[in-house]
Amino acid sequence: MRPDLHPMDDIHAALDDAGDQLPESDVAPHTPLLEVRGLGKRYGGVVALQGISATVNSGEVTCVLGDNGAGKSTLIKILSGVVSYDQGQYFVAGKRVKFSSPRQALDRGIATVFQDLAVVPLMSIWRNFFLGSEPTRGVWPFRRLDIEHAQDVTVAELARFGLDVQDPHQPVGTLSGGERQCVAIARAVYFGARVLILDEPTASLGVKQAGMVIRHVVQARERGLGVIFITHNPRHAYPVGDRFIMLNHGAMVANVTREDIDLNDLTQLMSGGADLDELAHEVQDHPG
């Protein structure tokens, strides 16, 4: 198939006309937002990733599972524009892309929340929320931050994710790990992300905090985002995942939907899974 006849072309127009701020209203659920075909990456002579083909749909959570060194981080880095791929194709809304910086990916609506790099700890919550996209008012040289607006939006947007912030001046470093992830996710959603890539968001968190982050994943999905949830923990992935991609030694060993695999199969495939019931319960309790 020629790239110009790609089946995602028809939604491309819809995405172009879409408003910037409210992604939940502009794409019908279950339409492809992002697609990779035969994606591969070498570092020198070492194959880090090869033959990855997958589609990420709106309003769905795509879980990328795999052990350390399986190629998860290389895949995220390609999708988020940190590194470039050297094999295969990468389409965003039907258009072939090759990003050279995270800013380019961001401009196409692909936001990435890295585990430890989501926020600047010593800066206040509202400054973090608007970092890199600060609202201003007035004319240069008197152009200044619209602090009141920024604080109001921060409080309101975090409230939509269930985080009740009374003092937006508080440094983000005083928040818990789960709350920091929440700030980063809410920020990405507010700034019009269509695809949200979460890199091991639950890795360093306790069960309660992890449950909170997973709840945010569900909320982002309900707002129509395509969520890519990277984790090495199937117990965190299964309760929210619509599709599961498993990587091993840089290759894709499974690409299954939730219908193809039941809870026990995935658990057995990945081993472990004692807390699964608890998490499944947690998510069922919060249908939105």
Partner: protein
Amino acid sequence: MTAATMSARGTPVTPGRSPLLRALARPELGSVIGAIAIAAFFTTQTDQFATWAGVANVLDVTAALGIMAVAVALLMIGGEFDLSAGVLTASTGLVTALLVDRLGVNIWEGIAWSLLFALAVGFLNGILVTRTRVPSFIVTLGTFFALQGLNVGVTKQLTETVQVGGVDEAQGYGVAQAVFASTWTVGEGEFRVAILWWIVVAVVATLLLVRTKFGNWIFASGGAPVSARSVGVPVGRTKILLFMATAAAAWLVGTISVVRLTSVQANVGLGEEFNYIIAAVIGGCLLTGGVGSAIGASIGALIYGMTQQGIVFAQWDNDWFPLFLGGMLLAAVLINTVVVRRRAEDSPG
């Protein structure tokens, strides 16, 4: 789904903090207390300190240091050092003086070329640090030695001495003198216009830091550069501009000095770079970046000036001054560390 139902489900709520706790977390707090204590001490110990002449004297010493401390504080908040800033105050003065004395240009033309030269040095520092990722401590140590060599070498080559004079004979000196070196009298104190420059620099820097987009980027570039870059902050550009701002401050101080003294020694400014950093740290800047304020740096400079002149007024041996300085620096670093820990590491979980 509404916020109310989510909160009701037990999502942690961030508590509001009392104004007192907020004040305790300010980076300037330690320096304000220190400044008051030192002022009180020398007021009781000496007769001259709390007089118009005494205040004018302290502020004269403080103004140049204050201008530089504010610029260096911004750079340190952005996560970098500049060891070349002290020597650059001499270089900029020399550029102006040499152009005026050797080529006979109008003093304003000399001052303009000098600014261009300073911005070029700042840009070079910035581009070397951001492109090579060599620590700015090393890069600017290199520029420091290079400028020091240039200052003396070029001056000797052109004048066969280590001093350039004759600035007051230049065209336009009268206006330049009014702008950069005039004084006004209050009581029996003669106040230097440099004090006004310092206040202007401190106010502009404060507004820039807390009220503008660029200020936000400065804090982020120093506090967590990788995170900042990942949300689209141009960290490299921010740092280059900060190096250029520091160089511009060195130009201002160099210009004030050359216009006031009408001549410049090729070896002035040497060692001053550490005083700028000390003033910034006493004022609450962290050596690791991301924390600090322009007001704090100004108070840090004031503490430096008050102590230096207070020792003179008290007729103590000036050799004791470095001991005080070292003690204050260590105390300030300890206080800063504690304050920052209170601010950010009290994570609830």
